[in-house]
Amino acid sequence: MEGIVRSVVLTKGVPDFSEGAVSFNEEGHLERGKTPTVMNPNDEFALQAALQTKVRHGGHVSGMSMGPPGYASVLEEAMESVYTDDSYLLSDRELAASDTWATAITLCSALEKYQEEVADVDLVFAGFKTADGETGQTGPQTCWGLDWPIVTHVLALDIDPDEGILRAKRLVEGDVDEIETVEAPLPCVVIADPEFEPTYRKATHRLTHKQLRGETRERAADHEEYLTTWDHQDLNLDPDYIGLDGSPTIVSAVDPIPKAPSEREATMVDPSDEDGMEKIFDEMHAFAGGD
């Protein structure tokens, strides 16, 4: 492996749910066209994990995303914030409206093509659930398709390039959360937990990090140059198995979450109005805990 690690990070655009950006129609349904796309917040942790690996061991990180052409902006964001080396966008009409299953098939084909045409991959990083679909399935399904081991809920990781193994600390949720340490042979898929925190306790690592930041600034300004787009033909995919046709999931209904009432009833009482104040104290008495 020559001490050089090749990683691919799967990232996805999601509607920007932040206040002011998100737009709903009268029935309370998300207006996708009017809501800007941002990177799935949980992918940030996957990207940080990939960056940490690159900083510590050198190597190459590619960002990969499936979605409409607009998702290029998500890949550009990944380049700016965590210094990916290049970007792969899987995009055309046939791929639209894929569910997690169809997405996983597409991603698998893309990763296979990547291995054939670009380089062997050691690590695939994916985020923990997306902010819109919230199923948490794409990563595991992709991994199943690749027939690679998967390590989920990763809090910390390091790899031993000479041995070709990954060591990770992962969160095991239960009555009491536990942290277990696991090893997996490379290549493998890593799902980063939202509590993943990169650590850079070596000066050399921080210097590398700083150097990458400098190099990336120039690269990100020219993102198009580093972007490769593959459509279903490039990926050799049968339209019957991808996109809407290839998606077995049927969304039966989406319930809008009712808005919280924004106005509360208020009674104004002048503090010098003794009767009024007395009434308030009487009413508050019930909540005061005593009797």
């Binding site: 809090l155 060591r167 921080r206 700083k210």
Partner: protein
């Protein structure tokens, strides 16, 4: 439980190793690192600020002395055009007595041994240096890391072999340069400096004031590539020993005060009020014309090299440079710290290179000490004649006698006659005599006041500006508070032990609830006790309370605490 994974880079003992580690990226650290890199040495620079300069304050005159072995432009040729404000082309001292002012042109003193001298602001200057230093040190396998605070020395079998940090694992080095400024935690850890005596320090307080370059040109009557320096002494600061300064920057003014810390404590003076006394003096009305917009309020301790410049500033592989070694020379009203830090940093680098390969870990330190002496730097920092004049000058009896003479009619007559006037101006311009002014009331207050009184003209301008309150000044500063992790702890909260900080802390004051130090009277078992409490949130990390109060004092973690934009 630790969630992280260490990683396996570094030496066989698990430590990272660099040829040289430089702590601090002020002028001393920048010069040391640049010189080391020029020699091809693998050099890592660790700086606690988010960016170099974000923690630093100076009045602002950077001198390049003709007699100095190194000046900053030796390592950074475009420094003056890229990172400095204005050269000083005019230099005056004002002796004040009430509204009476006697001004001397000090250009001769200023130009003595001066190749060039520029006003600087530390955030822009040091951050520029940081970038250049990073470029240089990257080429030899190192670089600059900001937001990293070194918190102590790494020792092996009692010998200093490296540094420990808040943010990084311990690092070993063949040379460790402590360029971490005044209140150097490394110098203290090595047992080379203590923080005990207020009379070994000055406290500097400064305001950066907005003024566009056309207005500066107009009000100070200077061209674009010219600048002025004005010094102020006399009775405007009551009896506190020290003085004030005003320097022109490109589009701002640096106005500040520097006082002997022991005198501040003795007089229980409030530093911000002394600064305000200068800002509101009628003499300054000619420049403000009723407009005053303060960009930043800042403060820092300044060591007095005459007392604390370390004669052997090294231990094992550790060398101290700049303020960390007490190398800050107050030559009368002229303050020279940055230039000496530059010289010392570069000499330390040279000493390391010429002694490399020597098995004795102290070889570099010893050579550095010799170089400080041979280059004449040590004699500037600790002039022999000062030691002599101090023995007589500072003794209270003598001071009191001289003071009485000055106060009497004889004194006024002596200072007041026209021959004396010429002699006085000459005396002020003599570097020799000026460095003899020992640190008494006479030199700082009585004599200048008397000169103002006897020879001065009365200033009738009205200075109507209103400087911001302390609360406003604190409110305008930028902080990234390390919540729940205060960097200073009171060891003794009795007023006797720590009460001096209430007045002396530049962001605290008696009867002000928004500062760091507050005093309160509490009743315990019927008896009253005066106690001191501390909230480090508004702290500007000046170092004063490390000396005047009983504290456990550290700098905040990397990137935390106050962030200066001007400096």
């Amino acid at each position: 439980m630790s969630r992280g994974f260490g990683s396996a880079t570094g030496g066989t003992d698990g430590y990272e190793h660099y040829d040289a580690v430089v702590v601090g990226c002020g002028p001393g650290g920048a010069a040391a690192a640049a010189r080391l890199a020029d020699h091809g040495v693998e050099t890592l620079v660790l700086e606690r600020g988010v960016e170099a300069g974000s923690k630093n304050v100076s009045g602002g005159l950077l001198y390049a002395e003709e007699s100095a072995p190194y000046t900053l432009d030796d390592f950074f040729p475009d420094f003056r055009t890229e990172a400095a404000e204005r050269p000083v082309t005019d230099y005056h001292i004002h002796n004040l007595s009430g509204n009476r002012v006697k001004t001397y042109d000090l250009t001769d003193l200023h130009e003595h041994d001066t190749d060039w001298c520029d006003a600087v602001l530390r955030r822009p200057m040091d951050s520029w240096l940081e970038r250049r230093v990073h470029e240089k040190t990257s080429e030899t396998g190192g670089g600059v890391l900001t937001g990293v605070r070194v918190n102590g020395l790494l020792r092996e079998n009692g010998e200093i072999v490296g540094v420990t940090c808040d943010e990084l694992d311990p690092i070993k080095a063949d040379l460790i340069v402590a360029a971490d400024g005044v209140n150097s935690e490394l110098a203290r850890d090595a047992g080379l400096m203590d923080w005990e005596e207020p009379d070994e320090w000055f406290q500097g307080v400064k305001a950066v004031v907005e003024m566009d370059s056309e207005t500066i040109a107009d009000r100070f009557d200077i061209e674009e590539d010219e600048g002025v320096a004005h010094l102020f002494s006399g009775d405007l600061f009551q009896d506190v020993r020290g003085g004030g300064f005003l320097y022109t920057n490109e589009d701002s003014l640096s106005i500040g005060t520097v006082f002997h810390l022991d005198s501040l404590v003795e007089e229980q003076a409030e530093p911000h009020e002394l600064l305000d006394a200068l800002l509101t003096h009628p003499l300054l009305a000619q420049w403000f014309r009723g407009e005053y917009d303060e960009r930043e309020y800042a403060a820092k301790l300044v060591p007095d090299s005459k007392k604390v410049a370390h004669r052997e500033p090294y231990r094992d592989r550790l060398v101290l440079v700049g303020d960390a070694a007490g190398q800050m020379q107050a030559q009368g009203p002229i303050i020279k710290g940055m230039n000496h830090a530059v010289t010392a940093g570069a000499l330390a680098a040279d000493a390391f290179v010429v002694t490399r390969g020597n098995a004795d870990p102290e070889a570099a330190g010893r050579r550095y000490t010799t170089m400080l002496e041979k280059s004449g730097t040590m004699d500037k920092l600790r002039p022999r004649r000062y030691d002599i004049s101090r023995r007589v000058g500072e003794r209270d009896v003598v001071t009191n006698a001289v003071e009485r003479v000055l106060d009497s009619r004889i004194g006024s007559v002596a200072v007041g006659n026209p021959i004396a006037e010429r002699a006085l101006k000459r005396a002020y311009n003599s570097p020799f005599l000026v460095s003899m002014l020992s640190d008494t009331r006479t030199g700082y207050v009585s004599l200048p006041a008397l000169i103002g009184e006897e020879h001065g003209r009365t200033v009738h301008w009205e200075n109507e500006i209103e400087p911001p309150t302390l609360a406003e000044r604190i409110g305008d500063l930028t902080y990234d508070t390390d919540v729940g992790n205060p960097h200073i702890r009171l060891r003794d909260e009795s007023y006797e032990a720590s009460g001096a900080a209430v007045a002396a802390c530049p962001v605290s004051a008696e009867d002000f609830g928004g500062g760091c130090y507050r005093s309160e009277t509490v009743e315990t078992n019927g008896s009253e006790e005066r106690l001191v409490s501390l909230d480090t949130q508004p702290c500007v990390e000046c170092g004063t309370c490390a000396i005047v109060a009983d504290t456990e004092w550290e700098h905040p973690r990397g990137g935390k605490g106050v962030e200066y934009r001007e400096g």
